[in-house]
Structure formats: C-alpha cells, structure tokens
Symmetry: C2
Subunit: 238 residues, 2 copies
DNA sequence: GTATTCCGGTGATTCTAATCACTCTGAAAT
DNA sequence: ATTTCAGAGTGATTAGAATCACCGGAATAC
C-alpha cells in the first residue's frame, strides 16, 4: 500500500493494533463492523483542515493517527488553541450530536489518517448501538474535562509565568517520568504555546529562557526536560 | 405542602409544567417513570452546596427550579465561575459518566429544588433507555458549547472592556429583546461578574460606570438595559 | 545556490488593569 | 435604634506583559 504522507495506514479497524486502547474504537466486533460500513477513510497532509468553526456540523472524524490542533479565532485574527487531539479521539462530536455548528477549527499539525462518518449515519448508529452511545457520552465528558483544565490555566493564573507553569505541568501529566525528570517532546512553536495559554509569542520565549536560567528546565533541541515538577508547582501556588 | 424556602415544589415529574420544554425531562412516559423510581428529590436554600470540585462523583442532580453557580478555584482562593445553571439542566453529568471527580463546585444562588440520582442507578438507566443516553450526549454537547463560549470571552479579548462587552452580549442572548433594547435582570454581584470574565471587582465597577457614561447601557436597580447591542459589538471587534 | 519564509531571541516603550486603601450606602441582624 | 456587613464607588500606585521593531539562524522552496 502506498503511504502518501509517510503515514502508517490502517485499512481495517478490526485489525487495528490500537483498537483496544482507544475508548471509542474498543467496541464489540459487531459494532465495529457496523461502523466500518458507514465510514470513509482518508489521509491528510500537514496543514490540512478537517473543519472550520461556524460550519454546520457534517459529521465526526475518528482520528486514527496523527495530531490535530483544535482552535477558535476572533474577528481580528487572535487565536486560542483549545487542545491538541491525539489518535483515538472523535473530533466534531459535540456539534454533531447537538446538531449545531462546529465550535472549533480542526487543523492537521502532523500527517493524519481519519475516518469520516456523516451525521445521520452516525446518529442512527448510536441509536442502534447503546454501548457506543455511552462511549460517546464518556468521550464528551473527557473533552469537557480537558476544556475545564485549560480554563483553569488561563483563568486562575495571576501572571504569565503561572500560566506557562500550569501548562507545562498539564502537558507533563501525559508523559513518562523517570528519576523525577519528565522529558517532553515539544512539538509546538512558541507562538502556538502562546495561543494555548492566552499570552504572546515574545513572553513565551522570554519565560522559557527565564525558567531555564532558574534551573526549572533544560531545553535540548525540541525536547524540554523538566528538572523538578515541585518547583513549577511552587510557581503555580505563588 | 410546605415550601421550606419559598419555593414552588414539583412533586412528580409526570405532571411537571416544565417537562416538555426541558431537554432531559421531555422523555417518554415509561422513561420518566423509571427515572422517578431512582430519584431523590430535595429542596436547598441559598448558599447550599450540591457538590465540591475534587469529590468523587456520586451522581447527578437534575435541577427542577432555582439557579446554581458552577465554579472552580485555585489554591490561593481565586475563583473562576464557569456558568450559572438554569432549571432543566443535569448537573455533575461529565464527572458521573466518566467516573471521575466533579471538576466544578455547585453552589445554590437561588433557592432550588433538585432530584438526585446515584451514579450506578443512573448509568443502568442510560443503558436501558437509549433515548435518554442520546439526550445525555446532547446535554453534554451543550455544556461543552457554553464552556467554549466562556473560553472565547476570556481568552480572545485584548482588554477588560472587551471581556465585559462579550459577557454582556452572551448574557443578553438569553433575554428577550424589544425595540432594540435588551433588559437584563442582573442577579450577579460585581465580584461574581469579575469571576466570570477573569477580572477584578474594581474594574467591573469602573467599566460598568464607563459603559453607562458612554450611553451603552442604563442601570435601573438590579436590571441592566442595553441601549445598543451594535455598540457593544463594536467594542468586541475593536 | 540563492531566495524566502518561519521560528526564535532580544531591547525599548507603553499602558492596562491588578492591587491597596479607603469611603459610602442600604439591608439585615440584634 | 444601632450595629454589622456585604456590596458598590473611587483614587493612587505599580508591576507586568503586550506591542513594536529589530536581528539571526535554520529550514524549505525554487
């Protein structure tokens, strides 16, 4: 099989190596088969857009591989990134179930494969597969949870350094820790970090330099090494 | 029937006058009956707390009447109000379906009646009532939607006046409009408004006075009258 | 092999809004 | 009746970060 963007292609959900570890994919075989009948798989290059905020929701995208940036923008061009979606997530879910417009814009930031399911087919599928409906509710709950987490970093901080510290700790929570150190493969630009914490690109640059000077972290290429989570937490609780 | 806190008591969902207009209450009669068997109704005074953030989720509260403040706080006491829940909403839903801890604190700000349903009973009910599960998904979608809306007012604004203008417009969207004017019964204190838009009490006081001077709104007792939505929108797009 | 664009780093300047420290008011409590 | 308290209004001060305006390097395009 050709792999257009240097991407591992998953042809069939039934034999997908990740099926078990993913909330929405780990369904009974009958459900997965029913799902396969209504999905359209496609590969997307970096920079592609799955959907734009304000568009009436056409349906959902099940992200098989790659990473997607979910953001919202104001009229004057300022952008706020809500989160970075990982494989296994169902994108466009809230708007699709409520029958409204997508509230966010979904941009591919790492070559991705996604399965599209039209709104009507998806809702019918949910009606006939009670277990899947419950998964959907769970996924929605988790999405909500992460939104709250971001609100906390942006809304409860007194300063930009507090926001950045909170952001790094959130981010670190999904990484492996060894000997007290956490290595974070930072795939975001300073600009993007700024858009995640509601700050400016320059302050992110300055704060990261500052944190490094204060021995809070090391920067090796594009990976951050957190020297001590405790010190970052001290900044948060300042 | 005694009404402890000057509250209209709804004894039976089947004859509730609001049943049809509320997303989760407007279920088939069989579902409502099944629901009635597992709910515990109670009345709460102003100031009471339904649940606190961080508590393992015990179950959901269906708000029959009254209004509830949903907020989160940081260690140093700073508070961020996510939204004010209205009758008909199901509180504690995300945490209950995902089986995690409540992510917010729910405080009664207007005497309320609520029906409590324990987590296990609720999940079993959902499994056996597919239509209710879909309603739950929809409710979750709407909750998410409102969270995004708040993120936008806090995260995309360049100034405090922009935040306040965005907040007022959001708030006005749920009010009746007549002759271009919108009358808002503002039941929140300046402090609470500040906690909703991530600002300080003093700036809210100053900005409201400022808006009044600029003829953007009138203040009569505890109701705000928006003179022109267009001018507020101009501030947002400044 | 050159051009171009994107990203990161840095200084100088400006200004907003947080913070502190009061007063004043009306409502509720005693 | 008077005390108490929560909420609102206001001034002065100040720190923090946005903004503007650059430069340099690295990666990509052509």
């Amino acid at each position: 099989m050709r792999t257009p963007y240097g991407l591992e292609i998953i042809e069939n959900c039934l034999v997908c190596p990740h099926r078990e570890e993913r909330l929405f994919c780990n369904l009974p075989e009958s459900s997965v088969k029913a799902l396969a009948a209504i999905t359209a798989s496609a590969a997307y290059p970096k920079g592609a857009t799955l959907f734009v905020e304000g568009q009436p929701a056409r349906g959902v995208f099940i992200l098989c591989s790659g990473r997607v940036k979910l953001s919202t923008s104001s009229a004057d061009g300022k952008t706020l990134i809500l989160r970075i979606a990982e494989p296994g997530e169902v994108l466009g879910l809230p708007a699709t179930v409520t029958g409204t417009s997508y509230e966010l814009t979904a941009d591919i930031i790492e070559p991705a494969q996604a399965n599209f399911i039209g709104r009507n087919e998806f809702l019918n599928f949910l009606r006939e597969n009670g277990d899947a409906a419950l998964r959907v509710a769970q996924q929605l709950g988790e999405t909500y949870h992460s939104a709250i987490a971001e609100m906390r970093t942006i809304g409860l901080s007194h300063s930009a350094s507090e926001k950045l510290a909170r952001f790094l700790l959130e981010w670190a929570a999904n990484c492996t820790e060894e000997r007290g150190q956490v290595r974070i493969k930072m795939t975001l630009t300073h600009e993007e970090i700024a858009q995640m914490i509601g700050s400016s690109r320059e302050t992110v640059t300055r704060l990261l330099a500052d944190f490094r000077k204060k021995q809070l972290l090391q920067i090796v290429g594009s990976t951050l090494i957190l020297r001590s989570k405790a010190d970052l937490e001290a900044i948060v609780n300042h």
